[in-house]
Symmetry: C2
Subunit: 549 residues, 2 copies
């Protein structure tokens, strides 16, 4: 993408984004000037290439200020070109769902995996942002544990119910939640402003008959309402509803619409709680319109296809978006033991934790990929065992052949990386052409193992054995080998014996090793167009161990 020319960009916007140390504190990235500090008649004066060639330099008129914008930044932020996903809080950034979309495939993880694997933690937090919830299993059934769960991604929001609330039958309940009654789908605390955006429920005991859980995607329901009855949708976005809660020590009030949209009209919050709607004060005609729309929305929310039903079992901890998902529970026998502990928290902390995890993950990926890129660019430019291509060209051609053959990503990766064992640098090898078997296939596979799984490393490990295998089972194969390959075949042990053939064929990665070998053999064409390492980088990144779990 070419960088747009600064003269074509809105001047104040461009200047407001000046990255120089006078405009932004280098310690924390905060802006150091105010908008009124900029000249009223600001304009781009002079434009030239920055000294380092990587950016565009702007000299501003009339104040002579100098800004340097990286080409990459200019290209990425060109006004009007869609980009960025906003803050991730509106329906635009969510995956809306109905029960059937997730039944039997709840976004979940064990507590052990969540605690120990950053990738699992990222997957769980992403599910809360994307689907509105995630379920942690086998969370220690310890009182107060729910607070520790919340603290893994954010901050507990204390309310009149305490830092932690008990969901069980109470003798003199101040809320229906603390009885055995059925609770229809609702969001919590709509009478609070700001409403807690996340809720956690940790199941300690659930031996009661009944007391099953349900979740409804309120954004999905709002979208259906908008499709089916636009006027009702508009009414619910425009009518502040008085939510109220009173007990001995509390008198909470918030007047907010059932469906809250952002300035662009996108759904960003849903509040729905039949229990706590107070008395609306509107002209009679508006009351009629509101109640009609409210009923229509309630009917959609109660459609059987929308509610995802499941049962929290002891050790489960549900984390959910309290401004999007409605939660419900069936009635239960007040005699059976049922005990959940809950807490509230906020989405911004969760989103921040996820963003930092991803940043760390990207940094962790950049390490190995930068190292591989350096090897391809450095030693890789060297001679390849007497062939007419460099080592890097050879490996990249093997990858290109695998790609052209429609091979799965892990096999393309294995092809690109198969001779990594030849490289020195961090991947010390020895010189095969000196007549010693450096077992470069094993060295390479072992060096790749910290970064990639066996679906990548094992075909690499087998690609030398595959040559010996093919020589044993395909007489024509031996005849077609290059001169250098024939020489190394002897060093490597010659064609396999029948016992070795049987053993090789028993290896689950044998077929992949053979496929890799055939690309390996053809990847020595000095005339072939060869993709560069950057071409394969995203594919390699996606296979890194940090992405899994």
């Amino acid at each position: 993408m070419p960088a747009p020319s600064p003269e074509r960009l809105p001047a104040v916007w461009l200047r407001d984004n000046c990255p120089c140390a006078d405009c932004r504190d280098p310690r924390n990235g905060q802006k150091l000037f105010q908008i009124v500090d900029l000249p009223r008649d600001l304009a781009v004066g002079e434009v030239r290439q920055a000294a380092d060639g990587a950016g565009t330099e702007v000299i501003w008129s009339p104040d002579g200020h100098r800004s340097v914008y990286a080409h990459e930044w200019l290209a990425e932020h060109e006004p009007g070109v869609s980009g960025g996903t906003g803050d991730g809080r509106t329906e635009a950034d969510k995956t809306l769902w109905r029960a059937a979309d997730l039944a039997g495939a709840l976004p979940e993880a064990t507590w052990a995996a969540y605690e120990s694997e950053p990738a699992t933690r990222a997957r769980v937090l992403d599910a809360v942002l994307r689907y509105g919830f995630a379920l942690l299993r086998d969370v220690p059934r310890r009182e107060g544990q729910v607070l520790d769960v919340a603290r893994t991604f954010g901050f507990v929001r204390e309310t009149n119910y305490g830092k932690l609330f008990e969901v069980r039958v109470e003798p003199d309940p101040n809320n229906l939640a603390f009885t055995g009654a059925r609770i229809t789908p609702h969001t919590d605390n709509p009478y609070r402003d700001p409403v807690p955006t996340l809720q956690l429920l940790h199941c300690l005991t659930n031996a009661a008959a009944g007391g099953d859980s349900g979740l409804v995607d309120g954004f999905q329901a709002a979208a259906l309402l908008r499709d089916e009855d636009q006027a009702a949708f508009a009414t619910l976005t425009r009518t502040p509803v008085p939510f109220r809660f009173d007990d001995a020590g509390t008198a909470l009030a918030a007047d907010r619409p059932l469906i809250d949209v952002d300035p662009l009209g996108r759904v960003r919050e849903v509040r729905f709680n039949n229990r706590s709607i107070g008395t609306l004060r509107l002209p009679a005609a508006d009351l009629d319109a509101f109640y009609l729309a409210y009923r229509t929305f309630a009917e959609i929310l109660l459609r059987p296809g929308l509610q995802l039903d499941f049962r929290l079992t002891p050790g489960d901890c549900l984390i959910f978006d309290n401004v999007r998902l409605l939660h419900a529970r069936t009635a239960f026998s007040e005699s059976g033991a049922r005990h959940l502990q809950g807490t509230y928290a906020d989405m911004d902390g969760l989103a921040s934790t996820l963003a930092v995890l991803r940043r760390e993950q990207a940094a962790a990926e950049d390490g190995p990929l930068d190292e591989l890129a350096a090897l391809f660019a450095g030693e890789g430019a060297g001679e390849y065992l007497g062939e007419e291509v460099t080592m890097a060209q050879h490996m990249l051609q093997a990858g290109a052949l695998a790609e052209a053959a429609g091979a799965p990503d892990h096999l393309v990766a294995a092809a690109v990386l198969h001779d990594i064992g030849h490289f020195h640098g961090p991947l010390h090898g020895t010189d095969l052409m000196d007549g010693k078997d450096n077992r470069h296939s094993h060295t390479g596979a072992d060096r790749l193992a910290p970064w990639f799984g066996p679906e990548v490393t094992e075909p690499v490990r087998l690609h030398v054995a595959a040559k010996r295998y093919l020589c044993a089972v395909e007489p024509a194969y031996l005849d077609a080998l290059s001169e250098a390959s024939v020489f190394t075949l002897e060093v490597q042990g010659g064609p396999m014996s029948p016992e070795e053939v049987a053993e090789f064929e028993a290896n689950p990665y044998a077929e992949d090793g053979v496929a890799l070998r055939r690309w390996d053999d053809r990847a020595k064409d000095a005339a072939a167009a060869t993709p560069d390492f950057a071409h394969f980088r995203p594919l390699l990144a996606a296979l890194l161990r940090t992405r899994r779990g």
Copy 2:
């Protein structure tokens, strides 16, 4: 106000407000039905007076449900009749201000008064809701004290800055707040969603040159913008602005407009922070419009007349609305000691605490006023020392005479209550007509003292002495006394001696006592129209000790 007839009211709205025990949990007031549980063709069937006469009974068609609505409730909640102030969060419920409105009259209280006097606490919290801030003085200069201040009215909102943050120069600051730089008016944490709605800053040390504080009413500025440039106002309410904050462990993002309006178009939140606005992604024309509007708003915010300047001195704790007020500070010498501790909290908890305080205050007022009303209705209906009026009539007539004379409220109250010492019940007295001075003036004053100040109790205490005084200094006065009064004069000690006269005149309440005495003497007219106790109740309520402080 007459109650509207149920047939004229929107049926679903009325039914949704049914107060019966099947519709609302009597334990907690929560609604027990869902809107979809109501018949689609709901209509008022039959209407009749409720058995107790205080309400209207509705029999609903077609389901035969029975609701009883108090006349008072129907009159108060009539649709379309303005009533209720909503949740108090929009500009409609605020007192907008400029610096001159509050300079020298900051809403403030000492920590000791705030802690010990519920009325002072209510006044301070009300100021935060109404003006957007209040200042507590002489708060103990103890580290962590700011958290205790927050906990007097709500819950601390923990953030990436911790439960508590230190505002002082830090060696490697992640925020400009932790340097000595000037900070222009801004709201905090706009990159958080939900943004903390309250901030507290507690000054422990401020010996640096500079470092003064300023506050700007962002709602006032928004209102000015709307008046002066409606298009700019509309642009700022419609443009989500990407606020961003990143440091080693945090990556916060919120896309929210600078001016947030409720569905009725009323300003409800302002976010303004030049330091943390990221890169806007809009078409070029929209960027130009936004930057023009942003600059115009910034210029208004920086008008000198708007910013209220003051200096936090050690022991001061500022509580302010972080979604309305912008705060600023002048630069200060990094060598001088300046140390503030801050925390965030939320408005909903503060508003709830204030509402509960007011409820308790009303209950505290209802106690004495209900007791007085019962005395007037009970014993007050009895004979008044041989006069032709009852005791209650006599006292109420005295009050009416004071009122007609334009007397100040405290003196009207004293007139209404002056013979309270005659009552038995909780105010045990003895029978003056038995020939003993029951010192009913002193008894009455002493009994009133827990509820009312000396401006009410002391004229009551002096009203018997005033008779003896007037008999001594006004010969015509004695002649005009009623037969019963002449009899009791002797029991009470006869006309004053010259020494007693001098002593009486030295009493600061003597004049009020004499005025009261003259109404007392005239308030024995069996033919006069007499207001009831309820007429004086609001006046009495306003004078209760619970309202002062």
